[in-house]
Amino acid sequence: MVSRTARMQPSGKGARLGVLLGLALALSLVCALPAAAGEGTVSLRVCTYNVLRFQGWPEDVAREQLGTAASRRLAHFTDVFGGLDCDLLAIQEGGSQQWIDRLAANMGMEALFLPSPAEFPGGILSRHPIVEARPRQVAERSWEVPFSRTFGAALVDVAGRPIWVVNLHAHPNREDLREQEAHILADTLDELLAVAPSAIVMGDFNSEPGGPLHEVLVERGFVNAVEAAWGRTVSTVNSPEGGVSSASIDHIYLSADLAGHLVSARVVLEPGFMYPLMFGPDDWVHSDHLPVVAELEWVPAAASRQ
């Protein structure tokens, strides 16, 4: 474990990389795709966030600063998510069903809890009605099965447009299991898209674009929102050396019909989310991951005919 003193004085390649990446990413925050806001449009802000069981990170510092009482942590994360202002939110490492339900209640959103064979359940929160729920059922307790973290889908009615919201959390290190997860994702998507053609697949892929999960999506015409906005991926994981690491593993993919409505996409790097480049002993952030946010706008079919 890195000592507190060592972390206060970042040095070497890791720190320099963190500084460069941080500057580059901070710059990226001020850019965006051309906005298409207008009268009668539907706006949809989509977010995915691995929240590390609502503990804060680094965990030892967060434990001291935030405490361990669940009620206090719930209040904190209610504020965090209130600030993100998401219409659709995919949560990974969501603690438990009570966390998902209580957070949704605080935010006035509908919720679908996604169970986990291990200890990493997730959830889908929505400001729009959830009309169908397809959580992946848990039949056994294991860390070493496909989607041992979480996987599931909700069909959401966004102003009359049915959209599948798929939340996934892939295995962190076993490529063979991620291959199996890719097959499950492919089969699931083929079923879902036969019901409704619009889908958003997001979550903690634990892999960079090019991996099997990503290929399943690309083959079906899905577009990576951040790549579409910036022409590259952006790191989504904080670095214990300060700033962000080089890992881009949290993603939002949009089906082809939704990709054309993408207005902007970004990784949230504001204070509280991104670990400071020059951090002090009391510094902590909401999670080891960073949220990814995509904004979509479109004119409903009925409105466009007027």
Partner: protein
């Protein structure tokens, strides 16, 4: 005749343990901070059981992971505390459980009923496992009466969860229900010859492995 209790904290302070366990009306509502109520529990064979302040700052019972020395001539996977020496035919036990930081927290519980002695008792096993079941121990020999085969409980170290044992008589048959967070999670109708007798009620967990804060314990009887 079955004695009835009124275990309201203020009254109990006046009446004392003996009076609380012999006079009054149902239900038995346990206040962890009340020494008279604390005395209603009997930890068996060194089962850890103490009153602590829970993470929310409230008093609760706590079952740690320490080893209880369960004799080997019986089912020795669970250690437990018995609640009162009253024998109930159709008990209902409600409680809230929050996983402790020790061991694996609270992935399962053994809720004991029809306890006669340490070698003869029944239990339900709500668990984060497909081994969820209704079982009994007869003369020290374990028998699974019903294997539910589905996960009906998931550990939680942040929020209390509700757990209820309900033994009842319905349409002339005895059955046992398990409720998790208010929802019926497992139900079993006893077959002829295996109906549980009147016995004591207890709260248990896996020996040496699990830990939990337990509070809001309420014991009553569904039917006589």
């Amino acid at each position: 005749m079955r004695s009835t209790w009124l275990v309201v904290p203020v009254l109990v302070l006046v009446l004392g343990v003996g009076a609380a366990a012999s006079e009054g009306t149902w239900p038995l509502v346990i206040d962890p901070a009340n020494p008279e109520h604390q005395a209603l529990f009997e930890p068996v064979f060194g089962t850890p059981w103490e009153v602590v302040t829970d993470p929310e700052g409230e008093p609760a019972f706590y079952m740690g992971t320490q080893l209880a020395n369960i004799p080997t001539d019986t089912y020795d996977r669970t250690r437990y505390v018995l609640l009162t020496d009253e024998k109930l035919l159709n008990p209902r036990l409600d409680l809230k459980s929050l996983g402790g930081q020790e061991g694996s927290g609270n992935p399962s519980h053994f809720i004991i009923f029809a306890w006669q002695d340490y070698r003869n008792f029944y239990y339900i096993y709500p668990a984060e496992s497909v081994e969820t079941r209704v079982a009994r121990v007869v003369d020290g020999v374990h028998q699974t009466l019903y294997r539910h085969g589905e996960i009906i409980w998931v550990r939680d170290r942040d929020w209390y969860q509700d757990l209820t044992l309900e033994v009842l008589e319905e349409d002339g048959q005895r059955k046992v229900n398990t409720y998790v967070n208010g929802r019926l999670a497992m139900s079993y109708t006893f077959q002829p010859g295996e109906e549980p007798p009147a016995g004591r009620v207890g709260i248990g967990m896996w020996n040496l492995a699990h830990s939990a804060y337990i509070k809001d314990i309420v014991l009553t009887e569904t039917t006589k």
